[in-house]
Amino acid sequence: MLASLELIQKSLPALMEGTFVTIRLTLLILAMGLVLGLVFAFGQTYGNRLVRLLVGIYDRVFRSIPELVLLLLVYYGMPALGIRFRPFDAAVVALGLRAAAYMAQIFRGTFMSVGSDQLTAAYSLGMGEFKAFIHVIFPQAIRAFIPPFANEYAIILKDTSLAYAVGVVELLRQGQYIIAVEYNPLAIFLAIAGIYFILTFGVTRLLKRLEKKLKIPGMGV
């Protein structure tokens, strides 16, 4: 037991490197997902028929194909486009495209959660569109956004482990390297699991606290 704890301590720096890669992956994927997702959501809600059709197809495709398959497709497909791709970039692109599809749904749900009567009321008071958005739509929308976002964040974080498959040295692969040398897989894996757990649980806990702080009585999701 003691030997295991010592091993974990010794490996911590290496594991931290892997963790940072994981975190970078997560943040970049989130960013891509948020930006693209928002665009798609607007397209689906306010766009014309063609736009809605295209976004709909994108949505279906990227939510039906497994992440791992997407990852491999991007990784093996990129060179053909003539772009020099690091495995890291392939992972971000593949998982980011997937995240965009799910984020788009979350955003759409958020838009729809704010009743149209709210906008009408705002206009009737003389608010312009921008003011209405800032003071009426956004405060309500953000509250509807946080729970599904917290969920999606956890999913993305865990999905970064798939980058292992294309050789990215994120947390999981880093762990495997250590195991190859030190040969105490259980201890290392438990340490890795612990780190993932803190990253998912910890952040979702924080987001839940935020949710509580922002909670308005009577306003359900």
């Binding site: 497994p66 791992l68 491999l72 497709l73 999905d159 970064t160 498959a165 259980l186």
Partner: protein, 231 residues
């Protein structure tokens, strides 16, 4: 790359390796269905344990659920496959796949079921008590039937997720659709084309499964009953 979307080679590969791909697909289905059934059953038990069990039982169930849900599926598979042999437990890739997915599904189903159980109104408990029903009777005849019905969208969603997630069996070499694809590609070096075929097959079966599930859900609806939001 884009040329391959329109070239004949894809069709050729698909046709000549059809048998192998279907073998993989068969395994994928088996893995999904078995894990779903075992995992959901275990999940319901965990949810019951967490909600109605005594403190230690409840705590254990909660710990299990949160740990599994808070760590990547891939890490769980690796632990089962790589971390046990030094202690004498050598599981085959197939076993690890079935076991790993079952345990994973159980945690997620437990969470959805728990939400449903908690959504059953106080009034239902009071009404059952007023008729003289004991605690566990109430749970089995009043709470669970409602909680299960309420969970159906979440459960079926989990099924679709699982169908996609079984592709991770590739990482430990279990012979699912993706693994078969890799085997094919490692011989003809047409990685992109082969994985594209695999992707399309997944697309088709996921869309089909979603459609079928939608139909089934409509059929077993209870008027006015409502259901949990699709996660």
């Amino acid at each position: 790359m884009f040329s391959s979307l329109t070239d004949f080679m894809i069709v050729d590969i698909f046709v000549s390796h059809f048998g192998q791909l279907m073998e993989g697909l068969k395994f994928t289905f088996q893995l999904t269905i078995v894990s779903m059934i075992c995992g959901t059953t275990l999940g319901v038990l965990l949810a019951l344990g967490r909600t109605f069990g005594k403190k230690p039982v409840s705590w254990l169930c909660t710990a299990y659920i949160e740990l599994i849900r808070g760590t990547p599926m891939l890490a769980q598979l690796f632990i089962l496959y790589f971390a046990l042999p030094p202690y004498g437990i050598k599981l085959s890739a197939v076993t690890v796949a079935y076991l790993g997915f079952t345990l994973n599904v159980a945690a997620y189903q437990a969470e959805y079921t728990r939400g449903s159980i908690e959504a059953v109104g106080e009034d239902q408990f009071k009404a059952a008590a007023s008729l003289g029903m004991g605690h566990w009777q109430t749970v089995f005849y009043v709470v669970l039937p409602q909680a299960v019905r309420w969970s159906i969208p979440a459960w079926t969603n989990e099924f679709i997720y699982l169908l996609k997630f079984t592709s991770l069996a590739y990482m430990i070499g279990a012979p699912d659709l993706l693994t078969q694809g890799k085997l094919i590609a490692s011989r003809n070096y047409q990685f992109f084309r082969v994985y594209l075929i695999v992707g399309i097959i997944y697309l088709v079966i996921v869309l089909a499964a979603t459609w079928i599930i939608g139909k089934i859900e409509k059929k077993i609806e209870i008027p006015g009953f409502g259901h949990q939001k699709r996660p």
